[in-house]
């Protein structure tokens, strides 16, 4: 493990200014990605994972805006604020300009694999043309070289007859094949970091497996780092080195993958793991997480998970837990944001357990029968 | 168990669907109220309708009203009194007065008079009656005809669908203005009239409404509750009337609103060419036809009717746009 991480995110905040109010989609998250690592960003849909990953490239769409924190990539400031002379926050001088972000970072340093391969490729251009355009743009190759490279890359990601497929249009490709094209696109630009935004969610399970194997293999070959955004703990277990679990815009637990699975510290992570289908358990044993995630526009007081938490006590309504180190594993800290742990010292053990409020819930009619 | 479920399904789902439709309408109304575009459209439409209502009341109950406007209406603007022989030849219009802000204008004829000496303001006000009623009536006719054709084609499918769609394509291929003129002139035996124009416009608009309704019906037809109703032995006619049409109506309504604007536009063109409302009936298109010969002597005669047409159509377009925004989840969400 090198001392300086490839990517460091500190206290990142991204908000959406809507008519109904401010949505704090990403609310102060911090994490690091080191060379050659696959780091997971896990959570239910709406947790802010995708917004967080788009924030890394400064590609948050209006009315969204990054409002705070710092993003450093290889010593360069992708985003950073400082206090100006008038007390207002302003962008730091060393922060890259939009033009620099576009020409130097997007594509050639940090590439993205998007969620929906069916919609992501432009329907009116050939697959090869799109691939070539991005390679030309990000690697300063001539059209001819870029074409050769594109075909080579298509072969690399396992597309048969790449010369012919190069001339075809996206609608002539299956979902899995399109996702391979998107992976080829990301790798062909030779970035150091790839953000994979739920790249397998739209695919069926067998194809998902193939894609994950492919990425695993290519990651080893090219030694590219990944930020892997997903809601699927199974995928996390398979591919990630370290994991960040997000809930309502916050990271509530982060640890190396084995540590997270074997010594889970946060009730939410535990719930996620319990809701995951596994071969050793029947469907009846699955425990869906109770309730639905609240809107980020008005998060619950105290710990944001407390209305759904099986371990919630009175104190959880009041105290908002910081993400603190509760253990260490493999030289990395194991952080969790739950007052259950001693380091918080807010009197969790003495606090009264919460009665479950009746809430609108789509699943598990009686999972919350806690009186035995 | 399966039987029980299907019975429950056939009983409760239409009800649910109706509740859904009703809250859908309520939400739409709420959105329209919030939408500035739609609100302004409503104001303009309301104003034009109020003017139309006034002219109807004024002409029918004129003995209860008093004042200059109704006198003018009775004496000069209504088709009851025909003075075509009083129309001076183009260029020698002595009787026509400029609007009131002009040096020679007077307050009693705010927009001046036409070459016949009739008060132009009164004629503009009365012109709303023909334009609006023809616009609404013709659109309604197209809507009813189109709904019938589209619902039958979509519901029955097969050769009925094929035949009807070919017929519709044929009607659609002739530009509406041309089709309406040909229809009006031939069917009236060479003496066109606004009543024939209404029917002509109605026929010309059947294709657009039929297509929308048909595609809606095709999607609604496959829904479970229609299957259930069919399985329960409800008659085709009742399925179409009670279930399919009400559930396909939202997009048609938007279209109809926008179409009223188009209808008024076409009818104005029709009257302008002399195939719609006939003089001396006050109609904006017809007034533009007359004023065409006086473009050099009195510019204003050509301006007012056009403005009236534009504002009216704009009202329907604004409202239609607002309605579309309110009903279209793509743009709205």
């Amino acid at each position: 493990m090198s001392s300086e991480p490839l990517l460091r995110v500190e206290n990142l905040k991204t908000q959406f200014f809507t008519d109904a109010g401010t949505v704090r989609a990403v609310d102060g998250i911090s994490f690091e990605v080191h060379e050659g690592e696959i780091v997971g960003l896990v959570g239910e849909s709406g947790a802010g994972k995708s917004v967080a990953s788009m924030s890394l490239l400064r590609l948050v769409e209006s009315p969204g805006e990054i409002v705070g924190g710092e993003i450093t990539y290889r010593g360069e400031t992708l985003f950073g604020l400082e206090e100006g002379p008038d007390g207002e926050l302003r962008e730091r001088d060393d922060m890259l300009s939009n033009e620099e972000m576009r020409t130097r970072i997007r594509g050639n340093e940090i590439a993205v694999i998007f969620q929906d391969p069916m919609e992501t490729l432009n329907p009116v251009f050939t697959v090869g043309g799109q691939l070539r355009e991005f390679i030309e743009l990000n690697r300063d190759l001539s059209g001819k070289e870029a074409r050769k490279e594109a075909i080579e890359m298509l072969r690399e990601v396992g597309i048969p007859d790449p010369e012919e497929r190069y001339e075809e249009y996206p609608h002539q490709f299956s979902g899995g094949m399109r996702q391979r094209v998107l992976i080829a696109m990301a790798l062909a630009c030779e970035p150091n970091l790839i953000i994979a935004d739920e790249p397998t969610t739209a695919l069926d399970v067998t194809v998902e497996g193939q894609i994950i194997d492919l990425v695993d293999e290519l990651q080893e070959k090219y030694d590219t780092s990944f930020v892997w955004v997903t809601h699927d703990m199974g995928v996390v277990a398979e591919i990630c080195d370290r994991v960040n679990v997000m809930y309502l815009g916050e990271i509530i637990e982060q640890a190396p993958v084995d540590e997270l699975f074997h010594d889970t510290k946060h009730p939410y992570t535990e719930a996620l793991l319990n809701s995951m289908p596994r071969p050793d358990r029947t469907v009846g044993e699955l425990e869906p997480i109770e309730g639905v995630m609240p809107e980020a526009i008005s998060p619950p007081s105290g710990c944001r998970f407390h209305p759904r938490c099986p371990d919630a006590r009175e104190v959880c309504q009041r105290v908002h837990p910081e993400n603190k180190e509760v253990a260490r594993a493999d030289g990395y800290p194991h952080n969790a944001a739950c007052v259950k742990h001693d380091v918080f010292d807010v009197g969790y053990d003495e606090s009264v357990p919460l009665d479950k409020e009746p809430q609108m819930t789509a699943s598990t009619p009686s999972a919350g029968d806690d009186g035995e | 168990m399966a039987v029980g479920e299907s019975q429950v399904g056939s009983g409760s789902e239409p009800a649910e669907k109706e509740v859904e439709a009703r809250t859908g309408w309520r939400n739409t109304l709420k959105k329209i109220k919030r939408d500035t575009t739609a609100r302004w459209g409503l104001y303009v439409i309301g104003f034009v309708l109020a003017v139309t209502a006034f002219t109807l009341v004024d002409s029918n109950l004129s003995r209860f009203t008093f004042g200059a406007i109704s006198d003018f209406a009775l004496a000069e603007a209504l088709p009851v009194l025909e003075h075509p022989e009083r129309l001076p030849a183009p260029g020698e219009a002595e009787t026509n007065q400029p609007p009131m802000f002009h040096a020679d204008g007077s307050l009693s004829n705010p927009l001046g008079t036409d070459p016949n000496g009739r008060d132009y303001f009164t004629r503009i006000v009365y012109g709303a009656q023909v334009s609006v009623s023809v616009g609404i009536a013709a659109t309604f006719l197209g809507l009813v005809g189109g709904t019938a054709v589209g619902a039958i084609a979509g519901y029955y499918g097969g050769w009925i669908d094929d035949m009807l769609m070919r017929a519709i394509e044929t009607v659609y291929a002739i530009p509406p203005l041309i089709l309406i003129i040909v229809f009006t002139v031939f069917v009236s035996g060479g003496s066109p009239d606004v009543r024939f124009a209404i029917i002509g416009v109605g026929i010309a608009f059947i294709p657009v409404f039929a297509r929308i309704i048909r595609s809606e019906v095709l999607s609604v037809r496959e829904m479970d509750y229609i299957e259930a109703a069919r399985a329960a032995g409800v008659k085709d006619r009742n399925i179409i009337l009670r279930h399919i049409i009400p559930n396909s109506f939202a997009p048609v309504l938007v279209y109809a609103t926008l179409q009223i604007g188009v209808t008024i536009l076409i009818v104005a063109g029709l009257s302008f060419l002399g195939f719609g409302a006939q003089p001396p009936t006050p109609d904006w298109g017809e007034m533009l036809n007359t004023s065409h010969g006086y473009m050099h002597s009195n510019v204003w005669l050509s301006i007012w009717p056009g403005l009236a047409i534009m504002i009216t159509i704009m009202g329907f377009n604004l409202f239609g746009d607002g309605l579309q925004d309110a009903l279209d989840p793509r743009i709205n969400d």
Partner: protein
């Protein structure tokens, strides 16, 4: 090969529609109370013998279906019948008048496309900016104002008040400059433009406004597409995204609208030719209607509908050519 087959297929598909149009116009023409001869001779003193003679001359004494088949047989050979009033073949009359109408309609389209597409794109890009609001208001005026009134207003301003441009007629570029006493092709071209400008704008405004609205909505939608997000994430410059990635997808519906709007444009040509005294098909149609020249009316209706059908086919083929997703031969 695929495209050629598709083209043939679309033209074959149009045949029933064209037959339908001929039936429809024939029925309309014979729907009239009384008979065509009475219409034709309206206002003139005619003896029953004269009527009979005319009926025999035009074959009007035979049953309807026979007369239709005759008419059809003529149509196939390019014979659209005989104009009673002008005593000339309908085909000749149409051929001599179609040029100005095509010139007018095509130039109106050119005007509409050249203005609406850039304006629509800029409005989409600057959504909710003042520019967007202004262009939306302009478009609203455009779709709400009758084309013939725009024509009248343009004449009032530019011909009557300012005296800059002529208010009636056209200069036909396909006639030689000497016909007009122009000194050369340059002057000929300038004069053509001077005469064409006002009617072109009058007819084109509605098209411009409609296309601008569609372009704006389509571009807004296209700019929200995932492929735009992808292009941004790979550092493609905004200009390229706008001009290439988003634009190409947004054009597809525009092509369809252009074809379908030909219907309004052809109808509008009647009004504009009337306002500007242009001797095109539209004006011929107007005159034929006034004279109740029913063979001529049927002929013009048939030709205008055919022009519309061909226009739609051309845009369909253009669509199929641009959109790779269209599978030739199976699409509607």
């Amino acid at each position: 090969m695929g495209l050629l087959r598709y083209t043939t297929y679309r033209f074959i598909q149009a045949i029933p529609v064209l037959i339908g149009i001929s039936i429809l116009t024939f029925i309309l023409a014979n729907l009239t109370p009384g008979d065509p001869v009475r219409l034709m001779t309206q206002g003139q003193e005619v003896t029953p013998e004269q009527i009979e003679r005319i009926e025999a001359q035009y074959g009007l004494d035979r049953p309807l279906h026979e007369r239709y088949l005759d008419y059809m047989a003529g149509l196939v050979q390019g014979d659209m019948g005989h104009s009673f009033h002008r005593n000339r073949p309908v085909t000749d009359l149409i051929a001599s008048r179609i040029g100005p109408t095509l010139l007018l309609v095509l130039s109106a389209y050119a005007f509409a496309l050249v203005t609406s597409i850039p304006l629509g794109i800029i409005a989409a890009k600057r959504r909710n900016d003042p520019f967007d609001h202004v262009s939306r208001i302009v478009a609203l005026f455009g779709v709400s104002t009758p084309s013939f009134w725009i024509g009248i207003m343009l004449i009032l301003i530019f011909a009557v008040q300012l005296g800059w441009l002529p208010s009636a007629g056209l200069v036909y570029p396909w006639w030689s400059p000497e016909t007009y006493g122009h000194s050369g092709y340059f002057e000929h071209l300038i004069e053509t433009m001077r005469y064409l400008l006002l009617p072109m704008i009058a007819l084109g405004t509605l098209q411009m406004a409609t296309l601008m609205r569609v372009e704006r909505t389509q571009m807004i939608e296209s700019l929200q597409g995932e492929y735009v997000k992808l292009a941004r994430a790979y550092g493609v410059p905004e200009r390229t995204i706008l001009r290439k990635h988003a634009f190409q997808v947004a054009q597809l519906p525009i092509i369809t609208i252009v074809g379908l709007n030909l219907s309004t444009a052809l109808g509008g040509a009647v009004l504009i030719e009337f306002v500007f005294n242009i001797n095109g098909l539209g004006r011929l149609f107007y005159e034929a209607i006034i004279q109740l020249d029913y063979q001529l009316i049927m002929g013009i209706t048939m030709i205008i509908a055919t022009m519309f059908v061909i226009g739609v086919i051309i845009t369909d083929i253009a669509y199929a050519y641009i959109d790779p997703r269209v599978t030739y031969g199976e699409s509607e």
